[in-house]
């Protein structure tokens, strides 16, 4: 069984700084890591692959240093890594990113299952997985919280959707997006870690994909959505209101607070 895992290199969110005055994000002091949900995707792939004698290919798009994310994935057990890197890919939005990723999946060869994390912690859109499925023309199952069963033909998963959970069976080829509940990602063994430091990473640029990729659909040019402005909202200060022997006012203010944070509303 051939499984493709989509990963993204993201900054360590604890270390990212937000400059309110300039409306800027400063990632300079933040290290990078694999998007945490993508580690769940990788773990799911590794478990399935181990039981079906399959192969796990990790795919990422990003700058040259995103290679580190692939090495980390290989250290954790992936068989191969492909880095899509080209200045032409820069500035891609969800649509252009999904277009590039799906064309690379096609080029990589026959696949059964594509697994992605539910969302990235920096972009936060949670749309790339389903759009990639759309561009590949294959079905997808999103918000997978548990993998119940799989064979060479299909996989059965619990999808948290429609305000409930559904047991769905999807035939390959199929894309699923997973949540953090689906498993606990393993740590790399020391041996794999050392091996991954030296392993060859496949790098594809636009040139390598041009047979399957329309140049007008990638990068800034190919991105219909554009960020016009970034606002860094002020961290709200605690209200710090104190009530003593004044229950009536306290209850009134609490109800208003509950309404303004949309917990309660008028019937």
């Amino acid at each position: 069984m051939n499984i493709v895992v989509l990963v993204k290199q993201v900054p360590d969110m604890e270390k990212v700084k937000f400059d309110r005055e300039a409306g800027r994000i400063d990632r300079s002091s933040a290290g990078t890591e694999i998007n945490p949900f993508d580690l769940n995707a990788l773990e799911a792939a590794l478990q399935i692959s181990e039981n079906t004698n399959g192969k796990v290919t990790v795919l990422t798009m990003g700058p040259a240093q995103a290679e580190e994310a692939l090495r980390e994935a290989i250290a954790r057990g992936a068989d191969e890594g492909i880095l899509l890197t080209d200045v032409k890919f820069g500035g891609s939005d969800v649509k252009a990113t999904s277009t590039i990723l799906s064309s690379a999946i096609k080029k990589a060869g026959q696949f059964d299952l594509v697994i992605a994390g539910i969302q990235s912690v920096d972009g936060d859109t949670g749309q790339v997985g389903a759009e990639v499925a759309g561009y590949l023309g294959i079905p997808h199952i999103s918000n997978v919280e548990a993998i119940k069963n799989y064979t060479e033909e299909y996989i059965e998963v619990v999808s948290s959707v429609w305000e409930s959970q559904y047991l769905k069976r999807g035939k390959y080829p199929l894309l699923i997006t997973v949540t953090k509940d689906v498993n606990v990602p393993r740590l790399p063994s020391f041996k794999n870690k050392m091996k991954a430091r030296k392993v060859e990473i496949t790098k594809w640029s636009y040139e390598d994909l041009k047979e399957v990729l329309d140049p007008s659909k990638i990068g800034i040019k190919g991105s219909p959505t554009k960020v016009k402005k970034i606002e860094v909202p002020q961290q709200s200060m605690r209200e710090g209101k104190l009530y003593k022997e004044n229950d009536e006012k306290a209850v009134e203010d609490i109800l208003n607070a509950l309404k303004s944070c949309k917990v309660l509303k008028e019937a």
């Binding site: 429609w162 035939k171 219909p224 109800l255």
Partner: protein, 331 residues
Amino acid sequence: MTEKIYNGILIFAEQKNNAIHRVSYELLGKGKELSDKIDCSLNAVILGPEEINVQELICRGADKVYHIADSTAFNKPDELIYAENIVSLIKSIKPEICLFGATTFGRSLAPRVAASLETGLTADCTDLKTDSDMKLIQIRPAFSENILAHIKSDIYPQMATVRYKEFEEAKRDADRTGELIKIEPVKTNNDLIEILEEISNDGINIQDAKVVVAAGVSVKSAEDLSMINELAYLLGGEVGASRALVETGIISKDHQVGYSGNRVKPAVYIACGISGAPQHLAGMKEAGVIIAINNDPSAPIFDIADYSIVGDMYKIIPEIISAIRNNELTI
């Protein structure tokens, strides 16, 4: 001025078991504001059986309601069937703006629709505005909610999913009229995905709860806990507990909030009779709004609370509960 090729706003009205999801009314509320500005029509699409009360969408402001009707096809969350039918409608009516609720289903469905239409999509918007050229400005949080990005799309339709409970619902006008257009579905089955069953989910999930009502050792018995349960229920939240209360055995460890329990970040945290040991604070101080009730004015919890109420929780909590009931407030 030449007539626009893409015209009008289309909102996706989600339904389950023939009940319309409230986010649909919120989309109509915001949609109305936008359509007034742009000077265009506001329409809705709903997929589901004949029995759905689609007139309600008209009462809530839709000019036209496209009802793609089938007795069974839309009774399960199958993104593929939904997407193909919606795409077919959009291709024929060409709306300039398309809005989906950012529910779990909306967030799974909208990208498929966007991919089919080869248009852009902005996820999880918390505000929508129009620019001077009457294009949509889509405002959404990113970087784990640390920034707000203002995004414009230069392909039609301009598509976005919109966060639930972010906007006011459209007011209901029982006398409002509009056009109801029934449409035959273009796809009613999907051989690739089989939805085997709906699984009931009743475990407690305090980590993802929007509201946590937490109790400390002032709670002396399981009976005392009932008012805490009731308040949590009324607010659609979960019950939390201090380590000390868990140690008494009155409540199970799944409820424990703190450094050595669950670390929670709900929109609202109500601490009832919890003094606020550092151990506990470590697990909840990131909450949006903190409300603390304690009879000890020196309780450390008050240092981090937005609303600090010094007094007897056995008196104040029932007062809050009855105020919620008397004012007919719901979640």
